[in-house]
Amino acid sequence: MQKIPDRNFDALVKPTKLHRSLYTDPDIFELEMSRIWGQAWIYIGHESQVPNAGDYFTTNINHAVPVVMIRDKDDSVRVLHNRCGHKGAKVVDKQSGNVRGALRCAYHGWSYRFDGSLLKIPNEHGYQDTGFDASEPCYSMQPLAQVSSYRGFVFATLSDTIPDLVTWMGGAITCFDNLCDRAPEGEVEVAGGVLRYEHDCNWKFILENLNDTMHPMVVHESVVKAAESYIATLPPEAAKQRREAEIIPPFGASYENFENTGITGFDYGHHYDGGKTSIHADYSVDPDYHEAMVAAYGETRTREIYAFNTHNVLYYPSLTIKCAVQNIRVIRPISVDRFVVESWSFRLKGAPDSMLQRTVLYSRLINSAMGMVGPDDLEVYRRTQKGLHSPVNDWVEFHRQYGKDRILPDRIEGGGTSDLDMRTQYRAWKAYMEQSYQRGVDYA
């Protein structure tokens, strides 16, 4: 592959501004794929997607590199490079399914165990006395450099030097705990299907938008107004039964409300808004759910779990989760101006069906490419992608509350309408790109 020369990242990322080429330059995109997506822990899938031996789920770990998550016969979940050790064909082509016995390449029939090791080559004697050594790893379906899961969420990385998953997540790990603790049985599982949608803009826009609390009241004003004004015409009893009335209007919350949610940032680019409160904090609590929670945890612990209420949590660069809604979005770049998102929902084990139903409703109302919220977000990213081609100004600014962030030993805290999220992301972006997190293999 083409080797991209090192750049002076100090010249592209300043404390309060970014160079526009970060969004438009295909060479920078390629370098991001090798240095950020090739080093960070990337979310692959959830263990519940592959419950039985031979169950698999395929994805790319960046814009191109195909991988397969598969349940082995010893019940462990593997993540393998989805590439035949022979000619290089992608071995598993379907998105998900089950294989019996062994993985088999469709080209020359090489087969592999679920741990990726080579099982059999047809007509093998032709390799005798050729110097070919079937035990060399390059002839297997090789596992990713590191694979790890936390409470069922499976991550993998192309880097053998990035710190372990728990260290890498740092303080942001509490959000995974909160998501799973919201289940009376302390576990979640994938349910309710997946929505896939495509954005014609740079992948970083969606990450920047997650904790950008200066946009909802502007971008989503129309749907909030349309929903509020129409629901107000319904008889009060009918209006009260509309779960949409809890989900849509908070997107129009005031600057003051959003400021009070706060933003918390961590190393490696992770951050969340909310904690004490968020736009999901005033959802009604299903009495059956509450009863199941209290039976499992007791009243005090249950209240503690509810009280930690975040809006969007980012595990930079591939995953954003909503603990209080049990919905996650998985990001995959395609090219400098295109990426895909998958929105997955989770069932809280031990909770009544109404909880999954709310999650599914949320995903449909807010994330769907055919909804009234997502398309307005996409529209402003799309316009930004276009506008940044203008040479009139090379810079994108993020000064809000600069110098006011509270720097603690393991985290940075700031106002909910600050640009702390941008500062957090681009500190990590620069560290990855400069390879200062590690001096490992350059995957490109």
Binding site: E198, S222, V223, A226, Y230, R242, E244, P375, E379
Partner: protein, 157 residues
Amino acid sequence: MPELAAIESFLYREASYLDRPDLDSWIELYTEDAYYWIPATENQVDPINHVSHIYDDRVMMEIRRRNFVHPRAASKDSQTRCSHLIGNVQIKGPSSEGGLIVESTQHVVVWYQNEQRVYAFTAQHELRPENGSFKIKSKRVNLINPDAAQRSLIIYL
């Protein structure tokens, strides 16, 4: 059983409102207890426990209709026009509530953001006879690619 020609003509009328698009006239073709559904997977049976691209009852249709013309909805700034081509119209039988189930194949070209996008699907209409014509009790749009990554769609198909 109503004549096939009457049903076809009703489907064309619905399509003509969407082509312009004129959601104010379009919504009047639907009953007060109507549903409009675009499932997110093939043979999806459940719109409540499984996510969909769209699953609107009349209330959500009313909200969408208002949002569609709201001056602050950036995604609606781009002019949108559609062209529906309807074929293979078949009466599948009576519905449980005295109406009838009609299936048709539809190809829709949507003009949005200076680009033509193609949607292909089987439409399932549940129609109720009313005043010599019909009202739509439910419409289900079975896209040929429901689980593909979708791009923004701001209009009903």
